[in-house]
Assembly symmetry: C2
Amino acid sequence: MTATPLVAQRKRGAALEDAIREAAYAELTEVGYAQFSVEAVAARARTGKASIYRRWPTKQALVMDSLCAWLPTAQQCGFEGDYKNLSTADALRQIARTITKVLASPAGAAMRAVKLEATADPELAREIDDRFQAPRRAAMLALLQRGVERGEVRPEAVTPLVADVLPAVLMHRVILQRERITERDITAIIEQILIPLVEVR
Amino acid sequence: MTATPLVAQRKRGAALEDAIREAAYAELTEVGYAQFSVEAVAARARTGKASIYRRWPTKQALVMDSLCAWLPTAQQCGFEGDYKNLSTADALRQIARTITKVLASPAGAAMRAVKLEATADPELAREIDDRFQAPRRAAMLALLQRGVERGEVRPEAVTPLVADVLPAVLMHRVILQRERITERDITAIIEQILIPLVEVR
DNA sequence: CGATTAGTGCACGCTTGCGTTCCTTAAGCG
DNA sequence: CGCTTAAGGAACGCAAGCGTGCACTAATCG
């Protein structure tokens, strides 16, 4: 037909499914898990609930599928940056920026919604762990190991516990203290905590 | 009357109010904020919703009042322990045990319910901050300062940022990694993170 | 003992949301 | 163009919970 109707034209098949997953992800990152509703997703995707329930059996299945589709991968998050020619201090600053950026992004909001609100759904939590925590720890360990090779990091500091300090401190600030992290904060954290913790003495 | 009726005798006045607050606190720590309902509280307190709504205008008001009544104070939490004759390492181990114990207690569950689930209620969050985070940071700063006086801690390590590392790491483990903290974990955290971070070199 | 105060239990009106049903309309294909 | 497939919109049954109202019952007091 030549005349565009007032209402948006209907999507079908894969295009509709993509729109629904995107709408679900956007809804989750904006309102959290507790306020997430299939009705709101349908409205945002400009579709009907019947079309959603034809594809996904439950609300939880929809959330899961939309996270699989839309959460950035570890590579997209950029935890494994190019730290080769950087000092350990600069590399730490860089990965702190990366983690902070992820925390401030929709992915960070989705992570909080799932890990902190949807506590009864271990499958959702596992998806977050696979996308964020495991790759981030691996990247931190690799960064610390390079620091050892450069003579800047104590070998004893290359442990999973130490690797978790930076994300722990950043998340403590964001989640429990509700504070925005600035470049100055990052500098302070690296200089007052990370460097004293790992440097050779 | 001499014969005890099958149903519990009715409470009145302050006794009833205390029972309601206690039931509300127990409900919150056991099921979290999202699953918290006034109906469940009424059942647990063996009363009716009408008696609750006669006293508290809203569900949030009831939660707030029960937290005020039942959350332990900073002193009861024991953050400000007797660290005077302990080495910094032992004092840190002690406060780590205290924080871990609080996290594992109903107070810890209430804290998570409020800070992580009831995100739309800043008043509730402030109550938690006042009871836990501010006194805990103050206790840590005092502990670190004593370490400086004993010659065990670098003066530059006595900062709020450094004071938050231990709770941040413990909470990261409990909340995001869903892991129970053992005495061995505490020892590892103190030896691999806290001591290297603060010790004189 | 009677009056007053207060609590319990139940039903309610209302709201919200999950998941389902169905009719109408749009899209695609032969 | 007609048929088939699929989507949208509305209404629904149901469940759950917030907050209210009320009748009945228990507790307290003079």
